[in-house]
Amino acid sequence: MTLTHTIRTALTGLHTNRLRSLLTILGIVIGVAAIILIVSLGKGAQSLILDQIQGMGPRTIVVIPGREPTGPTDAAQIFSDSLKVGDLAALKRQVNVPGAQNITPILFGGETAAYKNDTFRMTIFGGDTTIFNVFDIDLAEGVFFSANDVRASASVAVIGAKVKEELFGERQAIGERIRVKGRNLRVIGVLSRKGQTAFFNFDEMVMVPYTTAANYIFGIKYFHRLILQAETEMDIPRTVADVERVLRDQHGITDPEKDDFFVETQADLADTLSIITDALTLFLVSVAAVSLVVGGIGIMNIMFVSVTERTREIGLRKALGATRREILTQFLFEAIILTGIGGIAGIILGALVAFASATAISHLTEFHWTFVFPFSAALIGLVVSAGIGIIFGYYPARDAAQKSPMEALRYE
């Protein structure tokens, strides 16, 4: 019998038992759909996170005070005041770190802003003028603070869209004064709405010169972070090395093991987060894969019932000249076609649900969630479900092939 006829015979066999075929593949459909959905959402989450990291610029290098945490009990905050004004000056000296640009210290903390009778819990964010370049943020109105403002610890503020809305509503904010920790800050700019990014929500932020934040708001003489950018992505490793050398020099450290700061690049962060999302996705896929095995056992069960029910048909086909191999192939093909169709249906179903979820997330939250169709998972899902057809269809098919034509014809 030719392949075309084997497939056609198998299809006819499945078509004659439509409802049963449909119920049989349900397990496979759900299993594959779950895998597609999970992988798609996993990829979506990953690309969202990576996008946000990219939002800070892939060339961005962050210096964090304290030791790099090596375990959960490690007191990472032990040197949390290690980044000082002298370090900033040293990094800014061109000969020290030739590849560095947009160097800025950062101070941040939760505070309450008040305007007349309205108050709003926001984040004070102190930085240099370059901070607006580093984080790629735009103004809706007004201006950013200037180098002069930074030098003079000026009491000026650029407020986020949400802060403006909460404190001023529709009213004009530029030129008004808000109170933070007993200090009056004059609003000089309002940021355009940006939504939640990886680490900060700029909509709920009040941005001030780092000098103002250090001297008047937090009253500290160190920085929470130092941020700088490498000239090109190629320069990142060299720039990191330069930063480490300069800071060790500043802090009188000779043994890198005793560093009181650590340097994080966006690439490191992206890698780490990718590993985490990949691991999570893998874990969930393994859970979903269990349902595929259950689906496979369902297929085997139904195939056995089918073989028993069609004993007479098998006997007839053998009497009419079908060989053992032809019967085996027919039933094996029925199983593979069943699971193959189940796999395709599962891929379509999973993709549709993932697409609907992505659309819903984008609409209902502030995340810009993109739908990702996981081609590799789809391919694997298809291959695995067809494989399940072969594995769980083989035994019933062999059972069918081994029936003696005479016994099979007599079967009632």
């Binding site: 048909e313 007839l316 000249g321 034509p405 005479m406």
Partner: protein, 238 residues
């Protein structure tokens, strides 16, 4: 020409410790073009004989020569080939595929044959015409009467142009009128088409369509004789 030759055919079924001797050494031969009725009460071994002659089972002892070649020299796959090319089967319970059209049912043996696919439709149509069912070609078995179903089964047996047609109680599930039609058809296939036919029946009346009768009882051939009261072929076929 000698088509079938049985020499001391024995068949014993073992079920645990109990051995059932279905055939106890039967010998006979059938020539090409004969119409032989194998008769006997139920349990006499006539169905077992049909299974052996039809390559559906193997004898326990003795030899069966088909077209001069020993049955025991055929592998399972070769047996399947013989069943497909040289033998046609008509069963008491019709054994048509449900929810499958008359045409597709008749084409079924061709699926397992070497007949080129472009000839399938023509062959099937001509076999269906031979049994007078051209007007039912796209019906499904459930839409046909018992007699019509058996005629579809005969068309299916004919489609590969076999040497022998084995008919196992073909009228057993039919009313007498349909039974007569089916027997008339088989007789016409023998007398006009030159097909060799081996008919299994326990009804004397049905056997009278054949030319020769083998009487089997308790696994032995009791009598082998020509039928004297042979019925003339009915001329109902369209």
């Amino acid at each position: 020409m000698r088509l079938i030759e049985a020499r001391n055919l024995e068949k014993t079924y073992e079920d645990g410790d109990v051995a059932t001797h279905a055939l106890r050494g039967v010998s006979f031969s059938i020539d090409q073009g004969e119409f032989v009725a194998v008769m006997g009460p139920s349990g006499s071994g006539k169905s077992t004989l049909l299974h052996l002659l039809g390559f559906l089972d193997r004898p326990t002892r003795g030899a069966y020569f088909f077209e001069g070649k020993n049955r025991n020299d055929y592998t399972d796959d070769e047996s399947a080939r013989i069943r497909n090319e040289k033998l046609g089967f008509v069963f008491q319970t019709f054994n048509l595929l449900p929810r499958t059209s008359v045409l597709e049912n008749v084409k079924l043996p061709l699926l397992y044959s070497d007949v080129p696919e472009k000839e399938w439709d023509e062959r099937a149509h001509s076999a269906i015409a031979d049994v007078g069912l051209s007007h039912r070609i796209s019906h499904e078995p459930s839409q046909l009467s018992g007699g019509e179903r058996q005629r579809v089964a005969i068309a299916r047996a004919l489609v590969t142009k076999p040497e022998v047609i084995f008919a196992d109680e073909p009228t057993g599930n039919l009313d007498s009128m349909s039974g007569k039609q089916v027997m008339g058809l088989l007789q016409a296939l023998n007398e006009k088409g030159g097909h060799t036919i081996v008919l299994i029946t326990h009804e004397t009346y049905t056997a009278r369509h054949a030319r020769r009768a083998l009487y089997i009882k308790d696994g032995n051939i009791e009598k082998d004789e020509m039928i004297s009261e042979h019925l003339a072929a009915d001329s109902f076929i369209k």
